[in-house]
Symmetry: C2
């Protein structure tokens, strides 16, 4: 399974391709960053990112895309641009029928370092160790993109298995409920039928003293 | 000039095409809304919006796109989705070489109603009056898209004229500065040259009492 991890951003958009092997083995295929000039038109910056991502999709043919889910950070304007960059990447992947999954920063940190609160340096360090890199990926966005891809490779099978288990549980629950309903119906047919036939005469109304009116 | 106004959103994305004529005359060409199912994958929702916008661009051939600029609202998650929807629309336009301009909600309200604090009903009312619509555009996102297109038609010529005036002013300032610099250089050549030749002997240092050391 080959995954393209994307740390979205307008000024720097990190891209990292990782192959997942047996168990937890992972191998770096490519890493890089797309930059767009801050003084350029927003639409043209998005186009620059989309075009470069298309090149990566053509060249490395990933089977899935993992994008960092953006939350409103300290800087709202930056967050919006980041969301838009992630959006055009997701669009490019969807056009090719590739699954796109969004992972939160803490999911990525937890997957790679074991702690959802790890700092940038810890994430970079673990990414280097896991992928056997001798040189630190630069800038940090590139390392984050690799971390996203690793996170996806490790979390996705679990997510799929969990979804399957949930589907199975729901199916069992449905079957069980249907069985219960059938049993209740049968029991009802045995007990309720005479009850329905019982009121052969109009029940006598009683007044407050209990005497028949 | 024909403008496609876009009120971006994942659940409802308003689209409105307006032709601008002489002066402030405007004419509605088309209005509608793209909906995507809230339970669908984000990437597929973005694809649904992008595909529909492509259809509109093919069909109505606008010369410019006006998109509402999103700020983080009450709901951060919604704001992110809105930003992403706007991003894929901007991308579609940029791919065709069309200019994309983002307008803030208050710019749109001010352009259409005269007040940046107008409410939805006032905006819809003015849009109906300006475009001679007998039926209220529904949902509100559709009316907002028309308002965006009108805002763009009215603001853009001013924005362009302002930019030209600023460029002219900057050019004049540059020329003036160059002239000043040239004059200063000439003056400097006349006065500074002997000044540079003045310190022929080492200046005598004085101690605290004022006597030569």
């Amino acid at each position: 399974m080959r995954v393209l991890g994307v740390d979205p951003g307008l000024t720097r958009c990190g891209l990292g391709v990782v192959d997942g092997g047996k168990g937890r083995t992972v191998r770096a295929v490519a890493v890089g960053v797309v930059r767009t000039p801050p003084d350029a038109d927003l639409a043209l910056r998005l186009l620059g990112i989309a075009d470069e991502v298309e090149v990566w999709l053509d060249k490395y043919r990933p089977e899935a895309i993992a994008v960092e889910r953006v939350f409103a950070q300290h800087n709202v304007r930056t967050a919006m641009g980041t969301a838009q960059a992630g959006g055009v990447v997701a669009l490019a992947a969807a056009r090719r029928g590739l699954p796109v999954v969004f992972h939160t920063p803490s999911e990525v940190k937890a997957a790679v370092t074991g702690s959802g609160r790890a700092d940038k340096a810890q994430v970079t360090g673990m990414v280097m160790r896991l992928l056997n890199l001798e040189v630190k990926p630069h800038p940090a966005d590139a390392a984050d993109a690799l971390a996203l891809a690793i996170c996806h490779l490790w979390r996705e099978p679990m997510r799929v298995r969990l979804a399957e288990a949930e589907a199975r549980a729901a199916e069992l629950a449905r079957a069980h409920k249907a069985k219960l309903a059938a049993a209740a119906k049968q029991a009802g047919a045995a007990t309720r039928t005479p009850a329905r036939r019982a009121p052969l005469r109009t029940p006598t109304k009683l007044d407050d003293t209990g005497a028949p009116r």
